[in-house]
Symmetry: C2
Subunit: 447 residues, 2 copies
Amino acid sequence: MKSIVVLGAGRSTPALIEYLATHADAPHWSLHVVDLDARSLAAKCEGYAHVIPVSADLSQAEIRSEWISKADVVVSMLPAFMHPEVAKECLRQGKHMVTASYASPEMKALDEEAKAKGLIFLNECGVDPGIDHMSTMEIIEKIRAQGGEITSYESFCGGILAPESPSNPWQYKFTWNPRNVVMAGAGGAVKFIQEGLYKFIPYHKLFRRTEFVSIPGYGRFEGYANRDSLKYISEYGLDGIPTMYRGTLRRPGFCRAWDVFVQLGATDDSYHMEGVASLTHRSFINSFLAYHASDSVELKLMHYLQIPQDSEMMEMFEWLGLFDHEPIGLEQGSPAQILQHILEKKWTMQAEDTDMLVMWHRLFYQQNGAEFRLESSMVCKGKSAQNTAMAFTVGLPVAMATRLVALGQIQEKGVLLPMRKEVYAPILRELADWGIRFDERLTKLSD
Amino acid sequence: MKSIVVLGAGRSTPALIEYLATHADAPHWSLHVVDLDARSLAAKCEGYAHVIPVSADLSQAEIRSEWISKADVVVSMLPAFMHPEVAKECLRQGKHMVTASYASPEMKALDEEAKAKGLIFLNECGVDPGIDHMSTMEIIEKIRAQGGEITSYESFCGGILAPESPSNPWQYKFTWNPRNVVMAGAGGAVKFIQEGLYKFIPYHKLFRRTEFVSIPGYGRFEGYANRDSLKYISEYGLDGIPTMYRGTLRRPGFCRAWDVFVQLGATDDSYHMEGVASLTHRSFINSFLAYHASDSVELKLMHYLQIPQDSEMMEMFEWLGLFDHEPIGLEQGSPAQILQHILEKKWTMQAEDTDMLVMWHRLFYQQNGAEFRLESSMVCKGKSAQNTAMAFTVGLPVAMATRLVALGQIQEKGVLLPMRKEVYAPILRELADWGIRFDERLTKLSD
């Protein structure tokens, strides 16, 4: 009997529970899910005999410690900043740990101690980061095994609305943490390498330096660069690669319109605005426009950012109610907090909405004197506004990784990412059974 | 016999020494100037019998403490971050203190203690901040005394090249801390109020939202907003004023060209670039431009930022050598540090260069039912590349403020700015004798 304790029940809990509770070896496990919100937790655990919901306040160290003590494997779905605390307690108590979050420097600093104690702290096991790493490593190792040399790696992932959703000029709603979406790309320059040259994009140019991606059967997408593409070069074993670029996908038109918020300064989180309680959507936008005695907010915006009057961007802003005299409904906040609040009014998933998770890799490689292009893509559609593709593709690989750890099938110890075959191969195989599959298109370019 | 100890001998030391050493009451004072650089210090003190140069390392707390103990008034011309340390030691030893720097929150926190001990910590006594506050307060109090109500306050100040200097397409060289110039406006949104509406400008729009200013006899200038115009509303006693705007002056064309650096991300100080030792001016610029197999850096820059081929901006960049294959000459650095290093090659004052300090205020006020506009401007030209207007206009008011403190002519105690008549009136009167005078132009607009 192995004990799995899930700390925090977020959006991806249903997929996590579904996998672990319905898997063939479920009877051999005890599965506790701990969260403060008893009602929502009970609903998520309902119908699964082996899953025990526990209502407890995990912000308290003693309570975290107590539940960690009951586990063989701890799954931390808490906010990312809490993972290092959980990890330190797992170190003290000698427990394995799995997360879907980026391995922070604080987490990585525990590597040696974890190794010494024979513990596995497996991070970045959701979709992005997670499935992106796993599918990438499978491709890279396959090309290497054939004797190919990789010269370029590009990878994009994004969660957007499925085309079946009701019409929405942004083709977008929040399916994950809204704050992360509003702050995407902020807080530092984007870094990548192209044809051997290091390239840097400042935040205020990020949403104008985009790339287009087409996926057969799903149409066109537009991607903006992730913050630091360089950091995975070594993790992927691609040292010396001339081109490495990772990014986030949206539907075409999103980035150009989002850039308007960036240009205005409406995504700034560094200061609190004045007189927020009396702001409306319209006066919020006007705060970023020069004073004019008679020109309208719309006219000033179009003039300032050179938006043509008939641009569909203006429709996108009107659809959001940006120019309405509607009170914001906050007492205080930074521009980013206020913008998020306005967006949540329209970008919250409704019953009729379904989402779509899109992942796309493109590699160029040389083999036996010829050049090849390999594209690999995965699209997963959500079942409903609650059962989103985003939550499903995060929760499922976390659950699979957790099972591998519980079964003792991972030999490597320490603070890990899912880069090794012993981790990614069984997970990718199982994901395919659950419908999460990659299509590959290989093209020989020259010889 | 009063003892004045100047900590740190920077560019403004000559003016400071000249005033204190040649003033009628000089024989009643002892004046020590303490700095690590013995040779440069000796040159600055040469010819003044009452001025004693002291070579000592003021980064050491005991040495600072020792020299503070010898003073009645301490003048701190050290880097601004050291002022709070100096101030705390002055508190312990019961000494007055004068600086030319912004009163930091850390400095302001000492107000109560300083008051309790009857000490004066007088800050912002240079030119900007300094003469701007003094001349502003004189105008405000004069208008108030006449029964006028101020509805708008704008103020700009800038140090640029004098027209007598050799031709330079930027009409600019560094006359003060180059790092402050490169980082101007960075690190947070600009805030001001116009016609009763709070306005915010993000850094990446700052140099495109400029205002033009004309000064009779000196031509046109262009100003960009300072970081926080709101913080002086209360200091100036202007609570409730509908328009308040403070900014920095350059010659027209400067801001548009500087904005190119901002747009590229070349003023970013948040990360270190890769492979700096092998960068050239040209490859530095190319780091911020998209990869292209054949287009030149110049072409890519013009295309990216929509700069016409015949724009004088391209001449300005060529004059700086931005497109040259010249090695940067640094081993590492952030974009901002590298840009500063490149600029210093061309923007360092040469023997034939002279500078110019320009200050301009414009106020609107209502009086007896009529509306008035008052413009007040001051222009001061440097004598040589060494004796700059910048250094002169910083050092002189600091010296005058120091004398007032030494003579016990300031009644108010605590952490002060030069806002009260007992401070600004005698200083402005003396500054006029030294040629630093404001011209006023009053216009009646309506009645």
